[in-house]
């Protein structure tokens, strides 16, 4: 009995030594994951997936809106700027839109864990450097996304360890300036560790392009902050807002980063010397239909290789014109505005926006609607009125009566009857002689793409959408079926950043900046160089980068949103067939307010998003929230 007891006790002694320390089988320990280069690759893929890239899956609810229920009506960020209207929604920026807080700090934690692990990995020194560079690039990208939304944020520079006291993990907000400085510092670390190999992962130039973009953003905030003064605790503690004096250093940083990319010569514009505007328009379209075909221009691509939830995206189903819907019930949501169309230059008058002139008196500010007494200019096709407009208009928007996927895209708002009375935006038909004419240009809803409110499928601005759209294959009528890749950084943006930084700061190489501006215009078929001015740079930026989700942040960083969107309505171009001209086929155009739309006003507090969860994280809230 005694013996048995001793054996039992001995057994007890050993039993505690490990039998109960079971490794969970549903988790991979850090050493195993990071110990295997393949494990690191998988981890990196996840980090890249989390990058806050404002691409085809970026909507008001945030990033990667292509899984779960992706049905958000196709209301894109462009529709909160003057670039586009939605066919139905009249929404505007809300307090809850475009947040990225929890996800941001999750990505930062994930990347900090990686950076911790790098020294312990059994890989070559240059591979370690590359990982360090990528880690810092991702971290810089994350803090950039946080800073532009929230101003100064808590900087978690290294992994935090929970040791039973949650309060010890709470980090107060840094000032806005410290936050921007940290973003640029991370970009520098990334650039100095990264190589120059091109691919789907960050290289030296990706880090510099990010620095160029972030520095320009910070510089603009400093320079233009006084256009929208704010007050409150966050302001007095400098958590939002920067001194105007800070602008110079940020502009210099932008110039330095942009110049570094340009002088190294690793990138250039895609097809920089088109023979004609028509060729330029097609080149521009191709650049976005497949950015992989333009490795000379595109610095970082986010790929959408396969259709399916969390893989493909929904741009083609939401935004192609109604006539090519191929059975999909909700096409045609992106309606480029007349404001955007007006902005593009005419080749006949370089350096000026060329508003669409519809009447013989040339008044482009008359939005009073059709009036038989007015003298309208007659055109023989529905798009002759856009003749000589910048190639990029033709590459960005589907214009009335142009061809798309082999279809003549019919966008017509009505007709003027032979007696001079007009039928506009109503379904109607009239027989004159032996021919029957339809207000929307064709008898049935499958045969036109404009103005009929049927299904919310037809443009209400007179323009449909082309940029990024896949012309090669029919729409697959289902969710997440688009596989067009997204160009996050491209050389043209770097050139535009340089031009803006030089012209706004009055420093740097003005000749190089003017060349940068005009190189982009040359690629768009322009042959006359224009001077480097603030207006020219901004117009160029808006037309070149249209719909790349840049305009929203341009309005924010230049503090122009509250003046640009003060009781603002957008406008439409109504193409009407003029039956008074029969037997000739003639069209006239009428400039009007976008039908069924309301004025929209930007609230200055929206220059910053509210900080989520201040009840538990104890952070100082942004002004007026």
């Amino acid at each position: 009995m005694k013996k048995l007891f001793v054996i039992f006790l001995t057994g007890m002694m050993f039993s505690c030594q490990g039998i109960l320390d079971i490794e969970p089988t549903n988790k991979i320990p850090a050493e195993v994951l990071f110990g295997d280069p393949e494990g690191v690759k998988i981890y990196m893929a996840n980090l890249y997936y989390q990058l806050p890239i404002e691409d085809f899956a970026y909507f008001r609810a945030g990033f990667n809106q292509n899984g779960g229920d992706p049905n958000n009506g196709g209301f894109s960020a462009a529709m909160m700027t003057e670039e586009a209207m939605h066919t139905e929604f009249g929404d505007f920026l809300g307090d809850g839109d475009f947040h990225w807080w929890d996800q941001g700090y999750k990505l930062i934690r994930d990347v900090n864990l990686l950076i911790d692990a790098i020294p312990t990995l059994d890989i070559l020194e240059e591979e370690k450097n590359a990982l360090t560079g990528e880690g810092n690039f991702i971290k810089a990208f994350a803090y950039f996304a946080l800073a532009k939304r929230y101003g100064g944020v808590p900087l978690i520079k290294a992994t935090q360890k929970y040791e039973g006291n949650a309060d010890a993990l709470k980090v107060p907000r840094s000032t806005e300036k410290e936050t921007w400085d940290y973003v640029l510092e991370l970009c520098d670390v990334a650039a100095s560790n990264l190589g120059t190999v091109k691919g789907r992962r960050a290289n030296k130039y990706t880090a510099l392009a990010l620095k160029s973009r972030a520095a320009l953003h910070a510089a603009s905030l400093a320079k233009f902050g006084s256009r929208a003064p704010m007050s409150g605790d966050a302001v007095t503690q400098k958590l939002v807002g920067m001194e105007p004096a800070a602008a110079a250093a940020y502009y210099a940083a932008c110039i330095q980063a942009s110049q570094a990319i340009i002088t190294d010569g690793a990138y250039s514009l895609f097809r920089p010397n088109p023979a004609s505007p028509a060729e330029a328009a097609e080149n521009y379209r191709l650049l976005f239909q497949n950015p992989n075909d333009a490795p000379d221009e595109v610095i970082l691509i986010k790929g959408y290789n396969l259709p399916g939830a969390n893989l493909g995206h929904n741009y083609d189903i939401w935004y192609q014109p109604a006539q090519v819907a191929n059975g999909w019930p909700h096409p045609g949501r992106m309606n480029p505005t007349l404001e955007l169309v007006d902005l593009y230059e005419s080749y006949t008058n370089p350096g000026q926006s060329a508003p669409v002139v519809t009447t013989t008196d040339g008044n482009v500010n008359d939005y009073g609607g059709y009036d038989p007494a007015k003298s309208y200019i007659r055109f023989s096709t529905p798009n002759e009125i856009f003749q000589n407009k910048d190639a990029r208009l033709w590459g960005t928007a589907v214009l009335p009566g142009t061809s798309w996927k082999g279809n003549n895209i019919v966008i017509q708002a009505g007709y003027v009857k032979p007696d001079g009375q007009a039928a506009i935006r109503i379904k109607d038909q009239i027989t004159v002689g032996t021919n029957t004419y339809y207000t929307y240009g064709a008898p049935s809803t499958t045969m036109y793409s404009g103005f009929d409110t049927y299904g919310g499928n037809n443009t209400r601005t007179g323009f449909s959408f082309k940029k990024f759209m896949n012309q090669n294959s029919p729409i697959v009528p289902g969710w997440n079926q688009s596989t067009t890749d997204w160009a996050e950084f491209r050389y043209a943006e770097v050139l535009l950043n340089l031009a803006e930084a030089v012209v706004e700061s009055g420093t740097g190489d003005a000749t190089a900046a003017a060349k940068a501006l005009n190189d982009i215009r040359r690629r768009a078929g322009h042959t006359v160089a224009i001077p480097l001015t603030v207006d020219n740079v901004q117009r160029e930026r808006r037309v070149e980068l249209a719909f790349e989700n840049k305009r929203f942040w341009d309005l924010i960083r230049r503090r122009e949103y509250h003046t640009q969107f003060n009781n603002r309505v957008m406008h439409t171009l109504l193409p009407l067939q003029d039956l008074r001209a029969l037997p000739a086929t003639m069209y006239i155009f009428v400039r009007v307010q976008v039908p069924n739309s309301n004025p929209r006003t930007f609230e200055p507090k929206s220059y910053y998003r509210y900080i989520p969860g201040i009840g538990s994280n104890g952070l100082v809230q942004n002004p007026q929230y």
Binding site: P229, Y367, N567, Q593, P599, T601, P604, I614, Q624
Partner: protein, 228 residues
Amino acid sequence: MKTLRYILLAGVMTLAAACEKDNFDGPTAGLSGRIIDADTKLLVEQDIIRGTTIEITEHGYDPVKPQVLVVKTDGTYENSLLFENTYSVKPMRGNFVDVPSQDIQIKGKTVLDFSVTPYLRVQDLRVEKVGNLVVATFKLQQNVAGNVVKIGIYADKDQRVGEPMRLGQKEQDINAPADPNTTYRLEYNPDEFKTQMPLGKEYWFRVGALISIGEAKFNYAAPIKLAI
């Protein structure tokens, strides 16, 4: 059966008792008042969108989020659903010289008026129809340093018309201090806005001016109804 009934009865009674204990009283207090021009004793006109707000911060909680009251266009305000407590009350981002925060006990229907100095006063206002036009003439009295950024006459179908809420407007940039001797004149052409506001009906007009102080709001005269 009888046991079951007792159990049910006990259950119901527990539930009833529980409800009583769980529920706090609803808000019984309220705060209302007026924003009054210290000199003229008139209400200070406001915007309904992006206008003056009053922040009230309840004591005894930390962190605490201030509640924001939007001041009505006529310069009055009210929140009739507040809990009895001490609050810090401060008008924020208004169209008058800053008023310090004050701690008050809100109990029952508490009334709190603010006596303020508006940045600008629109005086001697006449709005009348001259031919097809609506012509506003007025003088501006400036009570603080700075420039008048712009003046404007705003039109809408709604009485709460103002710079951020209008269907038609005529504005003029000034960018200079107000001249007390100048009679400012604005000519509003209803023809320009007839798609939004068809002619032959009555509309509300309001004349306002904006001072170049950060976050300042427009100062207005009272709205006027006019047929065009």
